[in-house]
Subunit: 335 residues, 2 copies
DNA sequence: CTGAAAGCGCTTACAG
DNA sequence: CTGAAAGCGCTTACAG
């Protein structure tokens, strides 16, 4: 293994000077710099990141703390993850995956000093992991929000997204619009913040339409989607359109609706929000979606975290709405 | 920050002894050990992984080298990734994500000394990244195989999978079975090994049936699936069943077939191999799938790599077939 | 069974 | 502009 000492010897300088040119932390005479760069090139030297981390007490590793994505991966979540990995890499950082469930284990990981900062996914309204992060002193950025809006976060702008979805449906004369969200294992009142925000945005957006609010909450599975279809059918027969914020249930809903003898979009229009265009296309009929800015948000989350670590003044709050991508699941309301 | 020195002082021993009990590397008197453990507990000490890495020249970090998963994530690939992350964590290792495309950048990363070993995804028949790994001396495990079967790998047993799929169709009296695989950007003759293996398994399996071989290669997208449907329709009208090894195209194929006026499974049976049950369920009709053992393989890949790093004698070759999960897309052949 | 000490390969005040 | 040296927090022969 070639070390900084080898480079220093070859260039006839001290290792300190080598370090200075490598990091650009101090002015070095051009001739000296040239000698050092030549030596680095000739020896094909690459600085040891572990030694650097120990000496500088900065590992340049970021952790992505996520729930168990093993069993039921979700297209949008993955785009977050990959966006974050790319964003980190571009800033010279590495991203480690931490599939951590209990926050006890999390404290242990944080205390190990492996990571400079943490990205936290699937944030709940009240999230004990956030408390752990706060008390650990490790910098972090949330992907999602708690009830405390002051913490640094990056999130989908659900309010705008839902308003745009309602607006789109309204332009097709829909007045009775239902909402389907996702049930989680979290204790009631402590769901992911997104669910709460989506509901209140929905209630606000449909109020002017005069229709009866219809909120249905199901699991993010095909079965959940079918359940939503039948609940819709029996409890809210007046609804002519539905907005879905439940990627996993979207296919099941479309199938379930048709199984009940209703056609899409003639008898029921569907918009699936916070999902991907590709995902919507797979379904029959191709769903009109509000595509989540997930790759971008993942990247921005990593960026915001690195900014924070490097003292770059940056806005700790990023909010981006989904983008409407018309498919074939929205049509005029039948009155 | 509480260090090993603090623990040593509190327990009235040297830091070496603390290290011995922490690592279990040397016999320590029970009384001494108890004092040390108490001190660790009281101080809530957690050993610094970076210092440990530098001193032991083992970082306990694994890298997962994968292609760009940002744009078009695939349910199965993600299960690999998450399986590997879990597997690593269970063995006390961390997994970093390396979205690396050119192998130049890869060499740089390898030389930095950050990782003890590498997991390589999307392996090609001839893969320059494997050469880089070999010459870097960093231990690795492939997820997939090159033409050289001697390297340590973990892979889906495509031969068995395809044979079982053909057998299943045969039990429904199908004799003319087509195959749809995935087109990649890789140079011809250097596709992912899976494509080659799937094709030859297919040819071997259908030979006894006497039907004309029908291999269609399309992109892993909805458009690709529709293209496959029309190619099938015009070029291989005799086919009564199709085996798909192209998750991204499966929804498009099902749609495309119906758009051409053929019903599934009455007029065409479909099996989608190397995908997930959940994914198949989303499609109309719910596809009969050969579910990939992806979470398991990801975990086993991490396990095999850790075994290798820790000198545990282990089989470097793991091959697991997909599991048949009947859906509604396979029916009797119409003759 | 335990300890003193060298060493892992860097960074970073501090001096000059 | 450059260098000598301490130090980051561990592990690990080596002695005793």
């Amino acid at each position: 293994m070639v070390t900084m000492r080898d480079v220093a010897e070859r260039a006839n300088v001290s290792i300190a000077t080598v370090s200075f040119v490598l990091n650009g932390t101090k002015r070095v005479a051009p001739a000296t710099r040239a000698r050092i760069e030549a030596a680095i090139e000739e020896l094909n030297y690459r600085r040891n990141v572990v030694a650097r981390a120990l000496a500088s007490s900065r590992t340049r590793i970021l952790a992505l703390l996520h729930p168990d994505l093993e069993s039921r991966p979700n297209a949008t979540v993955i785009q977050f993850v990959m966006g974050a990995a790319h964003g980190a890499r571009e800033r010279g950082y590495d991203l480690v995956l931490w599939p951590v469930n209990d926050d006890e284990q999390m404290s242990h990981l944080l205390a190990g000093g492996l990571v400079d900062g943490v990205l936290l996914m699937e944030v709940q309204i009240r999230d004990s992991r956030v408390e752990r992060l706060l008390s650990s002193g490790v910098p972090f950025v949330l992907i999602g929000r708690t009830e405390n809006d002051d913490l640094p976060y990056v999130d989908i702008d659900f309010a705008t997204t839902i308003h745009q979805a309602v607006e789109h449906l309204r332009s097709y004369s829909h007045r009775n619009i239902a909402l389907v969200t996702q049930r989680t294992k979290a204790s009631p009142g402590n769901e992911p913040g997104r669910i709460m925000r989506v509901e209140s945005a929905y209630l606000g957006a449909i109020a002017p339409l005069g229709g009866r609010p219809a909120v249905i909450t199901v699991e993010g599975t095909s079965a959940g989607g079918r359940e939503a279809a039948s609940t819709l059918h029996t409890d809210f027969p007046e609804a002519t359109a539905v907005i879905l914020v439940n990627e996993g249930a979207s296919a099941g809903l479309a199938k379930g609706v048709r199984a009940l003898g209703r056609t899409v979009p003639e008898e029921l229009s569907i918009i699936s929000a916070a999902t991907t265009h590709e995902f919507g296309e797979m379904i029959e009929p191709a769903l009109t979606v509000m595509a989540a800015p997930a790759p971008e948000l993942g990247r921005l989350a990593a960026d915001a975290l690195v900014d924070q670590l490097e003292g770059v003044p940056a806005s700790p709050h990023v909010l981006i709405p989904c983008t409407l991508v018309p498919g074939q699941s929205v049509g005029p309301a039948h009155l």
